[in-house]
Symmetry: C2
Subunit: 408 residues, 2 copies
């Protein structure tokens, strides 16, 4: 049960000298219990190894980008081949066109595509296109929803001005009345509504979308000539191939994608419908690496492999087995567990657990046993989580429940 | 002189259906004369090939990222090796720490580093840190300077609100009085001044920085407790190893870097001095791919190769030979040419050339002869531009001058 983390500790000490606070952002292990590694060496399928050589069954999948499994052979072969010819050039490669065509074919509401690097690039560009289309300023956002790390949307207000957010109006997820009230407040200045396919805020239970809420947002946008923007950055290509709301029959005007699109390769996309196409030509959107060929080739291979390997169904099966196993284990150890959201990106929280005391202790116990999980962020399944992997995860999580029970 | 561009045309037609306007951003060939290719297939050293197999001596270097030459063997070998172990993981690799240490060692004013993907991420983060440090809002920016493609800085106003820019105050590059006046207007609300190491705006002559102007900005920031932010995104690692103002002895508080840092691999960085470290811990900065290992390994290899191969000196020699050659050719053909800015990133404009008529014709003639240049954006030299390459460029540009002369 004792694992060496000496190299990790040495790297942390060095980082403390040359990085503010020693680390930043969502991968900062200082927000996690002791025993979590900060630095990683390698990965394969559903397994990762830290810099001290400790192996983990990975249930975070790099917080979403890894959807087929780490270093999927088909994706890596395509990327490596492209890298031997060209990546960042004076213009895009043919893969730019092929990927735009593939996405337009794949995602129901999409008639066109634009590519970026970060999820934040994509969500921000959606807002800008909605404003260009409408000539209006106000955007409705759900209270607590994460849409990226730019000043208009970052969850931490350091360095953010009031003016960065003066054109945002909050509503409550799944509360159509609150959205209608915010739209009324925006009046004739409503440019759009940005919303996640389901509520997946950090620290709290996930909520699947109420279909009436989704339809109501669509109607609100239609009535007011505003753009409905679906933020698929975290959900995209994990829930449904044609968009997370395809089953509801609710089509957004614009959608933002990133994370899983390139199975770890850096790429983001904005997809839009015909009515927004002209507005999209009037915004300035560019970046030094936005046209690079390697991530586009990786994305094409990812989309093709997702389809060919029936990855979404397999992920859902694995997620269901994991959920059922964890529920049974929790009950047998006398814990009440809340497992919310889609099976492929579960949020797992303990009942009656102020300060996430049990959750953190359980995650620490799991990590010591080689299962990488998170105490207050949703997890991510990937297609490399086969039945053996889930069985192995559950053997270790059962011990983790036992350890927390004994420690109480 | 006739080159096939059939595959390029076919890809453009397909792109027109699935991309707004057929293309967007700084690599959009529709803003260039006929005969410029839009789509590229491969690259090697200082040469690129379009999708129809036409070869070009590349004087744009992907608009800056390529500084050692395309697909430099040392960089690509390091990147490929890292890709076989891990890239986008649940935390950074050791290269994260090594790169931060290397940058702190290399860049004079830097005591710490943070990494991103886009140049825009870095400039935006600098503003946010300056605001967090000062608790103030106003930022001075030079009229016409490019600092990225976010709503606060994009050069095209589609979809941008007044509020996105209400906290910016303009000054004139190299005009200290105008900066002092803008600072006075900001009063007690001045958070920082962002400035490029030299003026490299699109469409106009470049201007080297007046040392008194640089020192004056430093003094202004000192007097008012504001942060001096140097935007090195376009200049970084091409002008001077320790920062473009190291020769002036003017140290910024924060600097933004990207483009050349990874020789084409997607990475950006913010570097800062000790006094801003604490503020940097209070801003939320993150992205799905900001901790990926491959571009960090590529950046380490780039920095090492720049040093080992004395790349900056060699680029400067090549740029000087190019400048002298073009000046002689222009004179011999009866043209007045304005070649401004550093030799390694020259702006080349024709005198008396409204609408860039001669410039566009000359660039088109150069591209037809296999020299890729730009009529209204500065060019970029790279370390792969050896004497043979420059000689070959000059043979073709001489013919291009002749063609433009005959066409007048």
């Amino acid at each position: 049960m004792t694992r060496a983390l000496a190299r990790d500790a040495a790297l942390r000490a060095r980082a403390a000298r040359v990085v503010p606070g020693g680390m930043y952002g969502h991968l900062n292990a200082m927000q996690l219990p002791a025993g979590f590694p900060q630095f990683f060496e390698r990965a394969e399928g559903c397994r990762v190894w830290d810099v001290d050589g400790n192996e983990y069954l990975d249930l975070m999948c790099s917080f979403g980008p890894v959807v087929l499994g780490h270093r999927h052979p088909a994706v890596e072969a395509a990327a490596a081949k492209q890298a031997t010819t060209g990546d960042c050039l004076n213009g895009p490669s043919p893969a730019f066109v092929e990927l735009a065509e593939r996405l337009v074919d794949t995602v129901d509401h999409a008639d066109w595509a634009m590519f970026q690097k970060n999820g934040t690039d994509a969500t921000t560009l959606c807002l800008t296109i909605a404003r260009a289309a409408t000539g209006r300023r106000k955007i409705l956002t759900a209270h607590g929803s994460y849409h990226g790390a730019a000043p208009w949307c970052t969850p931490i207000p350091g360095g953010v001005t009031d003016e960065d957010r003066v054109n945002l109006l909050p509503f409550v997820y799944n509360d159509l009345e609150s959205a209608a009230a915010a739209a009324a407040q925006a009046g004739g200045d409503l440019a759009g509504i940005i919303v996640c396919p389901h509520k997946h805020d950090v620290f709290v239970d996930q909520e699947l979308v109420d279909p009436d809420f989704a339809r109501g947002l669509r109607r609100l946008c239609n009535e007011r000539g505003a753009a409905l923007i679906l933020d698929e950055v975290r959900t995209g290509f994990r829930i449904a191939p044609g968009g997370s709301w395809e089953g509801l029959g609710v089509a957004p005007d614009l959608s933002a994608w990133s994370k899983a699109l390139g199975n770890g390769h850096p790429i983001a996309a904005v997809l839009g419908g015909e009515p927004l196409r002209e507005a999209a030509t009037r915004v300035f959107a560019t970046g030094s690496f936005w046209f690079s060929a390697v991530p586009m080739v990786a994305a094409l291979a990812t989309l093709e492999t997702l389809r060919r390997e029936k990855a979404l169904e397999r992920m859902r099966e694995a997620g269901t087995a994991l959920r059922q196993g964890l529920a049974a284990q929790a009950a047998s150890h006398g814990f009440k567990l809340r497992q919310t959201g889609p099976e492929v990106m579960p949020m797992v929280l303990f009942d009656d657990d102020p300060g996430f005391t049990n959750g953190r202790a359980w995650c620490a116990a799991a990590v010591r046993r080689g299962v990488y999980v998170h105490p207050f962020h949703n997890w991510f399944l990937c297609a490399a989580h086969d039945a053996d992997a889930i069985r192995s995860v559950l053997e270790r999580t059962d011990e983790a429940f036992g350890e927390v029970r004994r420690g109480q």
